[in-house]
Amino acid sequence: MNLVRTICPYCGTGCGLLLRVVDGTAVATYPDREHPVARGHLCIKGWTAHEFIHHPDRLTSPLVKKGDSFKEISWDDAIKLAMDQLLGIAGKYGGDAVGGLSSAKCTNEENYLFQKMIRAGFHTNNVDHCARL
């Protein structure tokens, strides 16, 4: 048995959890009783945190919408496409024409950089994240 100590990715609270890993697959989540934030408590999302890791519906690459369907593309292409489109729209209609939705599943530092890009780069306050919805 292998218990991997990690942090719940679902929101900014950052509860500690233990994932039980069997043959490389996370099979169960337990609250971390020694964690200073959670102190052995979890919400329903934390308790089920192992379920999304290997879920067949989990996205494993960026998707771009073409017509009515989504197509998988590489990260390099996705970043280039997003950059071209965002710069194009903001250049033509101003910064308030674009916005960004970030994720609580990213690190603090990633989220800091993201809002910096939107605020300082595009000069707009149109930035939010999934855990505030």
Binding site: M1, L3, R5, L18, R20, V22, V27, A28, Y30, P31, D32, R33, E34, G40, H41, L42, C43, I44, G46, W47
Partner: protein
């Protein structure tokens, strides 16, 4: 101290840890089990459950804090090969839960071994535990249990005026965020599928939860098997006194049927058993039903 290990003093705790290490060492050397489930103090002094398999790991073995092991042990055995045998360092409540799981065919008796340790009286006070020790102690000495009905918080919830108590229960149960932590952490909650995931009883995605069909379904499912380990209450992020919810029925079982869940690996509860031991045969509705009146 003349060979007596007292769990109350620092040296007592240290001696108990050393004695346990020796015992685990013996288990590993004699291959009595394939692994021993206990607590390990790892890097940065972080403590978490661990299955010990090598003698050199034992330096890191600790006994505190209390960490319920019964459900984890059951889940480890389920994903392990059939011949895998596990020893578990058990407090009183862990042993009681494992005994109840035997009776419900959730753990095969020949796959699990119990290394019994006592709780300190401080831990017993925290848990309001009536039996802070397993049936057989392998290290240390037992401390006396605590009567939960002497506790002021319990008295407020279970004794006195019905209307006031109902108000108090509604107040605490209203806090529920339906995390299912009580169900998930309970060593006895093993129903598959779980009633609390059935739309008939519990609506998906709405809080606060239905008090009767969520908390009381759980309470009644565990009425003859709750081992008072307190795992539900400890897992509850909103501090619902879930352990107190089971106390009336635990007391009724003891007084009416002379039965305490988990105290015997064989003797079954009056619900699973055949009612031969029922002391008062004429009584069809036990007195404690009255305490659950709305």
């Amino acid at each position: 101290m003349g060979g007596i290990i007292c769990a109350e003093t620092v040296t007592g705790i240290e001696t108990m840890v050393e004695e346990t290490k020796k015992l685990v060492q013996k288990f590993l050397a004699e291959r009595e089990s394939d692994g021993i489930l206990g607590l390990r103090k790892g890097d940065w002094n972080i403590i978490q459950p661990h299955v010990f398999t090598l003698p050199e790991e034992l330096d890191a073995l600790v006994l505190d804090p209390k960490w319920p092991f019964a459900k984890l042990a059951m889940q480890i055995l389920r994903t392990a090969p059939k011949e895998y045998r596990l020893a578990v360092i058990c407090r009183g409540c862990d042993e009681r839960a494992i005994f109840e799981l035997f009776k419900r065919n959730q753990i095969e008796e020949n796959r699990i071994q119990i290394i019994g340790i006592p709780c300190s009286s401080e831990q017993a006070r925290l848990c309001l535990c009536e039996r802070p020790y397993p049936t057989k102690l392998d290290v240390g000495d037992a401390v006396p249990g605590v009567d939960p009905f002497e506790d002021a918080g319990v008295k407020e919830l279970l004794m006195g005026d019905d209307t006031r108590r109902m108000k108090r229960w509604a107040q605490v149960l209203k806090r529920c965020i339906k995390c299912y932590g009580c169900r998930n952490s309970c060593p006895i909650c093993v129903c598959e599928p779980c009633k609390l995931e059935n739309e008939v009883w519990v609506r998906r995605g709405s809080i606060p939860t239905e008090i009767l069909s969520f908390h009381l379904i759980r309470a009644f499912h565990l009425s003859d098997s709750c081992v008072a380990c307190g795992a539900c209450q400890e897992a509850c992020p909103v501090g619902i006194p879930l352990q107190s919810l089971q106390l009336s029925m635990r007391r009724a079982l003891r007084e009416r049927y002379d039965y305490i869940p988990g105290c015997d690996p064989v003797k079954k509860s009056p619900i699973l058993g055949d009612f031969v031991d029922e002391p008062e045969k004429d009584r069809s509705i036990p007195e404690w039903v009255n305490t659950l009146r709305e």
